[in-house]
């Protein structure tokens, strides 16, 4: 496929996985939020914004979650009574199984405390998964997946694996689902402030730069192409989530786009992260998480980041990526 010729051309969609179309997803209706019980807390002030140093609402009126913008008690009092189960997907494939222990132990400490959680750990070696003591109401499910060659291939097949798994989930098993990278650790609370219809996280490397510098896929022959002059934010592929039905649609669409690229012999600059960004440009998330929720410990912490909740484990990339 030639890039930048300026003519419109149609991308053939080769579909080697016909079973995807025959999957009908049944998912629960969103439960109505019930009455909040009485709570006493400081009155919010119309003329006193909590954070003046950062953007807290997008132009399409989606909240951007930063420390200080929300009251965890109010949100807990709304969400706890709904008896939710939150799902988490993470991929521990090949050498990445070594990260599972710290991921799970720190999640038990900080992720959705007080809620039911199902960890879905996708792995090609279930026996290598650690035995981690889980709190009550939380369980771990090892999801076997095919061995693949090369870290890019593993990374790109995640969308397919997640959408396939969601389709097989029991009705009502989870209401919300987060898809996280496993080579990361929780350091601070991650709670119901993150719940929303479709949630994306702002990449820590690109929240301080203009859109021209976002590493979007710039070749027009890719399905992840974003032209110059477009783009809201650069979202990180390590964190996304939302209502389980929305996550299914999103991962299925991304997988289709990845297949289309494959058929055209092109791989997007940052693999599924490029496709994620393309998707969220046209289908804007209903809630954004600040880089507090997707930090890179190698970066120095600027004053805007008051709390690091979830960040990368220091690792030797060459060694784990083979």
């Amino acid at each position: 496929a030639s890039a930048g010729s300026g003519k419109v051309h149609y991308l053939p969609y080769y579909l080697p996985c016909p079973e995807i179309f025959s999957i009908k997803l049944q998912y629960t209706e969103e439960k109505r939020i019930q009455l909040f019980p009485q709570l006493f807390y400081q009155q919010p002030r119309v003329l006193a914004p909590k954070r003046q140093d950062v953007l807290t609402v997008t132009p399409w009126l989606a909240p951007i979650v930063w420390e200080g913008t929300f009251n965890p008690e109010i949100l807990d009092s709304a969400y706890r009574p709904l008896n939710l189960t939150i799902g988490v997907t993470a991929f521990a494939v090949g050498k990445y199984t070594r990260f599972a222990r710290r991921f799970l132990e720190s999640a038990e400490q900080h992720f959705m405390r007080g809620y039911q959680v199902n960890y879905y750990i996708f792995t090609d070696s279930p026996e290598a998964l650690p035995q981690v003591q889980l709190r009550p109401g939380r369980r771990l499910v090892a999801v076997p997946i095919q061995k693949r060659s090369g870290w890019q291939e593993i990374s790109m097949r995640r969308m397919e694996a997640i959408s396939g798994h969601v389709a097989r989930l029991g009705h009502g098993e989870v209401q919300y689902l987060f898809c996280l990278d496993i080579d990361m650790v929780f350091h601070n609370p991650w709670g119901p402030e993150t719940l929303g219809d479709m949630v994306a996280a702002i990449h820590p490397g690109y929240f301080q730069v203009p859109r021209e510098q976002f590493p979007y896929e710039r070749r027009s022959s890719s399905a992840a192409f974003i032209p110059e002059g477009e783009g809201d934010f650069y979202y990180g592929g390590a964190v996304f989530g939302g209502l389980v039905g929305k996550v299914y649609e999103f991962t299925k669409t991304c997988h289709m786009a990845i297949l289309a690229d494959k058929a055209n012999g092109i791989m997007a600059a940052w693999q599924e992260e490029s496709h994620l960004n393309r998707h969220f440009l046209s289908h804007k998330p209903s809630k954004l998480l600040s880089p507090e929720y997707i930090w890179d410990d190698r970066k120095p912490k600027p004053p805007e980041i008051r709390l690091i909740r979830f960040s990368t484990v220091d690792k030797n990339y060459r060694e784990v990526r083979d």
């Binding site: 109505r32 939020i33 009455l35 909040f36 009485q38 006493f40 807390y41 009155q43 919010p44 002030r45 119309v46 003329l47 006193a48 914004p49 909590k50 003046q52 807290t56 609402v57 132009p59 399409w60 009126l61 989606a62 909240p63 979650v65 913008t69 929300f70 009251n71 109010i74 949100l75 709304a78 402030e193 804007k284 809630k287």
Partner: protein, 249 residues
């Protein structure tokens, strides 16, 4: 905007001029093929406001999107002939004239509850209640569309406001103790998804009919129950006082 609160502690956006892009929001709204309704009441002398309201709302309320206006009135013959925009519709629903305008106002919530349940839920996706004496002066667009939307009252927003003598204006009802209010919302403009509005109207009509005491004006009688309800069932989006500026301010 750095000078005002844009996000409540429960992460509901507060809509102020300059904080949103109507183009993006319009594109999202159009994709979903939605119909929004407006409910308004014109009883007794208030028929006088019908023309002004419909003219300005037809022009400025969700311009370019289909809107159903439901006008509840005891004077259907006094409604002037108006050219509505092609995508809008006007439905006139006669109501009975009760003795005294206070009584009619207290049953607004009851009428809203009844009609939403029986009819409106099948005709619209989102529903907004507006006072007939509101005149829209600028575009009110799809930034108002969300599950449960309330407007911050300008009365309690103005920093130096003392209680004025022009109309008896009570303080927030003593029924709700200090420290429990988030914001003070006006009953003149609220709305949301038809399911949420139906539930709100039902809860408020029951509250009003039980309480019922006190020398408070008709307009204000809806506000107590509305604010009480919204403390416990928090709005998913707030409209700044730009969206309702009391005429007598």
């Amino acid at each position: 905007r750095r000078d005002v609160l844009l996000l409540t502690p429960w992460l509901a956006p507060v809509v102020w001029e300059g904080t949103f892009s109507r183009d993006i929001l319009n594109a999202q709204y159009v994709q979903k093929n939605l119909v929004t309704g407006v409910v308004t009441f014109a009883v007794e002398k208030y028929w006088f406001f019908i023309e002004g309201f419909l003219r300005s709302a037809n022009k400025y309320f969700l311009a370019g999107h289909p809107v159903n206006f439901y006008l509840f009135t005891d004077n259907p013959e006094k409604i002037p002939h108006l050219q509505m925009a092609p995508e809008n519709h006007l439905f006139v629903i006669p109501v009975q004239n009760h003795s005294g305008w206070q009584d009619v106002s207290t049953s607004r919530m009851e009428i809203l509850s009844r009609y939403t349940h029986s009819q409106l839920q099948h005709e619209v996706d989102y529903l907004y209640s507006m006072d007939i004496d509101l005149q829209l002066l600028a575009d009110v667009g799809v930034e108002i569309i969300d599950a449960l939307v309330a407007t911050i009252s300008s009365w309690h927003f103005t920093p130096h406001r003392q209680s004025k003598a022009c109309e008896p204006r009570p303080e927030p009802p003593a029924a709700s103790p200090e420290g429990e209010w988030d914001f003070y919302y006006t009953a003149s403009f609220f709305g949301g998804s038809v399911a949420e509005v139906s539930e709100l109207a039902r809860a408020c009509s029951e509250g009003v009919m039980e309480g019922g005491e006190g020398a408070v004006g008709a307009r204000w009688r809806d506000e107590g129950p509305l604010n009480q309800y919204l403390v416990h069932r928090k709005p998913t989006r707030l409209l700044s006082p730009e969206y309702y500026w009391g005429a007598d301010l």
